[in-house]
């Protein structure tokens, strides 16, 4: 392979000259696609919209986890814990459980904040660990949170879960159907992916990449790896918390079963199948891993077998994930004419 082929598509334009025509064209294409999406999706049957909502929730989760796994190279198998913290935040603060009925917006902030703090708290003890050891500890953390939800009956209502969760309102509009949720999930998902991309391109993202490549050398050039890792844990957990709050408001019922190890694994799979560390891969991975099981629903008992085979086939054909490393958002923007 030539050096050009292996080099990243992200290039830094030395002159920094802005090609306005190209930018306008790229922006026009994106706006057109968004408008099409906003018109097309709500016209689908509710079942399909529901699947698309789940794709967006998992996209949010995977975008968060990708910061830790893809960018900083820390394998976190307990990510679902932050999703659970977000979900239970909404379930406890907007239901008859304690007769607290806070509105959706503030809980979104609180849930995200709580999950972010939990992420930093988890980060502190596991800072020294890497690879397999980190994976085991985070896996344990995920299970601890789930068991806590399961056994803290007086607070969480245990395995029965919390039902009768308030219907969320946003700016006075009720969020009732999957269609309503699509309109709030879409902007949040776009925000999260954009945020992640801007972070990836920032000095913090570069520092994460250095930690992923060689932690010791990264320290040697003055990178505070402790701080950088805690930021990765905190930011990713915050996104997980957001997803959890929305999920609880969407389902209007939470129980510990929704936060099993299988869910953590699904999110890791989204990243790995899509292409580790690549946001385009995360989007594709979320779509594939949520839509494929739905497509296989008609094969009932063979469904999981076929699903597993499909995953193995994907990894055999494309070991680096479905989307190649240099097919990143910058590459797409370049193709659209953004210079």
């Amino acid at each position: 392979m030539t050096s050009e082929a292996t080099s990243r598509a992200v290039s830094i334009d030395p002159g920094g000259k802005i090609h306005w025509l190209g930018r306008v064209r790229a922006a026009a294409v994106i706006v057109a696609m968004l408008v099409a999406l906003v018109y097309f999706v709500p016209s689908l049957p509710t079942y399909y919209v529901r699947i698309i909502d789940m794709v967006l929730i998992y996209l949010l989760l995977a975008t968060g986890l990708n910061m830790v796994v893809g960018y900083a190279g820390l394998l976190d198998l307990g990510f679902i814990a932050f999703y659970a913290i977000g979900a239970y935040s909404y379930a406890l603060l907007a239901s008859g459980q304690f007769d607290i009925h806070l509105p959706f917006g503030p809980i979104l902030v609180v849930g995200g904040g709580l999950a972010g703090m939990a992420g930093v708290l988890l980060g502190i003890p596991v800072l020294r660990l890497r690879g397999d050891y980190l994976a085991i500890v985070t896996l344990g953390f995920g299970e601890i949170i789930r068991l806590l939800m399961n056994n803290l009956v007086s607070v969480t209502n245990g395995p029965q879960g919390i039902s009768r969760i308030d219907q969320p309102f946003l700016f006075g509009f009720p969020l009732k159907t999957p269609r309503d949720f699509f309109f709030i999930l879409l902007p949040i998902a776009i925000f999260a992916v954009t945020l992640a991309w801007r972070l990836e391109c920032s000095i913090l993202g570069l520092g994460w990449a250095a930690i992923r490549e060689d932690q010791d050398a990264a320290r040697g050039i003055g990178i505070n790896t402790t701080l950088a890792k805690l930021l990765a844990f905190g930011l990713s957990a915050t996104l997980g918390g957001f997803a959890g709050v929305i999920f609880a408001a969407f389902q209007r019922f939470v129980d510990p079963v929704s936060f099993s190890f299988w869910e953590s694994l699904t999110i890791v799979l989204i990243i790995v199948i899509g292409g580790v560390g690549n946001l385009v891969g995360v989007v594709v991975g979320a779509a594939v891993l949520i839509v494929v099981p739905e497509l296989l629903r008609e094969y009932s008992e063979y469904r999981m077998l076929l699903y597993g085979c499909a995953l193995v086939a994907i990894i055999l054909v494309r070991p680096g994930g479905i989307v190649g490393r240099h097919h990143n958002p910058a590459w797409i923007m370049q193709k659209l004419g953004w210079r």
């Binding site: 050096s3 050009e4 292996t6 080099s7 990243r8 290039s11 830094i12 030395p14 920094g16 796994v69 190279g73 394998l75 945020l195 801007r198 972070l199 391109c201 920032s202 000095i203 913090l204 570069l206 520092g207 990449a209 250095a210 992923r212 490549e213 060689d214 010791d216 050398a217 990264a218 320290r219 040697g220 050039i221 003055g222 990178i223 505070n224 790896t225 701080l227 950088a228 890791v268 790995v272 580790v276 070991p319 680096g320 994930g321």
Partner: protein, 284 residues
């Protein structure tokens, strides 16, 4: 401005790698540390850079006890190094390998970089300008967008030095910079290293290639079994009997030392290549 090692000791279990060493490194000079395998040369550098914890003793630089600081703080005090086995960020481009050195000076402005439109490009241009200068100085400009892993061995060595010098360090430690380079590359490297001497910079080189050390250094410390065996100018070291004995087991001439050293250099090259293969980033 001097770097001082005071009563420095390092123990690995029962092995005493460094046994009470007192060294003074003057700025504006190239100081080399030589000695046979296992003499503790790399251990000294690793302690100074914060990779190893110091067992006892102190490392003093500008009234700061470096051994008390964390590794990234030591780097923040202007101490930079290269590694015996090249340690670049393989999956990143050459330019990114340099750019990431500016992490601590830009981290506080990450929020602006992420959320304020236009700022990101401005910061990137600022950083790119700095990197371009360094790339030009080391003749790596045309590789700016190449992955570090795809560079030739010699260029990887140069990139590592470029990375270490990007922030204008006050202490520059090079661990076997000439190991595995051919003659032409070694001569080129010698010129490059001479150009890095500054009146306010302590330069430390650990090296096995004797002709390289002898022609480049202003001052040489000879280490043997964790202790300082001899110190002096290159001429004084070459004339010293004890040094020859330490290298060859028996008194011999300088050519003998050179032959012993050259074999060693080839081994290092093989080992470095093996390491590069092993360190290829695995998917997750």
């Amino acid at each position: 401005m001097t770097l001082r090692f005071v009563g420095l000791r390092k123990r690995f279990g029962s092995l005493i790698a460094i046994d009470g060493v007192d060294l003074v490194f003057e700025p504006g000079k190239i100081t080399s540390i030589i000695g046979p395998n296992g003499a503790g040369k790399s251990t000294l550098i690793n302690m100074c850079a914060g990779s190893y914890k110091v067992t006892s003793g102190r490392i003093l630089f500008e009234d700061v006890e470096l051994q008390r600081l964390k590794k990234h703080q030591i780097a923040g005090h202007g101490v930079a190094r290269t590694y015996q086995n090249i340690r670049l960020f393989d999956g990143m481009t050459v330019q990114q390998n340099l750019e990431v050195c500016l992490f601590s000076s830009y981290l506080g402005r990450t929020f602006a970089e992420v959320f304020v439109p236009g700022v990101s490009q401005r910061f990137k241009n600022e950083r790119a300008a700095l990197c371009r200068e360094a790339l030009a100085r080391f003749g790596l400009t045309r590789f700016a967008e190449t992955l570090a892993a795809d560079l030739s061995y010699g260029n990887q060595k140069l990139l590592e030095i470029a990375r270490a010098t990007l922030l204008n360090p006050k202490v520059l430690m090079l661990d076997e910079p000439a190991a595995g380079l051919n003659h032409g590359e070694t001569d080129h490297l010698k010129e490059t290293l001479r150009s890095l001497v500054r009146p306010d910079r302590v330069m430390i080189i650990v090296e096995h290639d004797m002709s390289f050390v002898m022609t480049l250094s202003d001052h040489i410390f000879v280490l043997h079994q964790g202790r300082l065996l001899f110190e002096g100018t290159p001429a004084e070291v070459q004339a010293n009997f004890a040094v020859q004995e330490a290298y060859l087991g028996s008194p011999g001439d300088v050519d003998g030392i050179r032959v012993a050293a050259r074999n060693r250099a080839n081994r290092v090259r093989l080992r470095s290549n093996a390491n590069i293969e092993r360190r290829r980033p695995a998917p997750v």
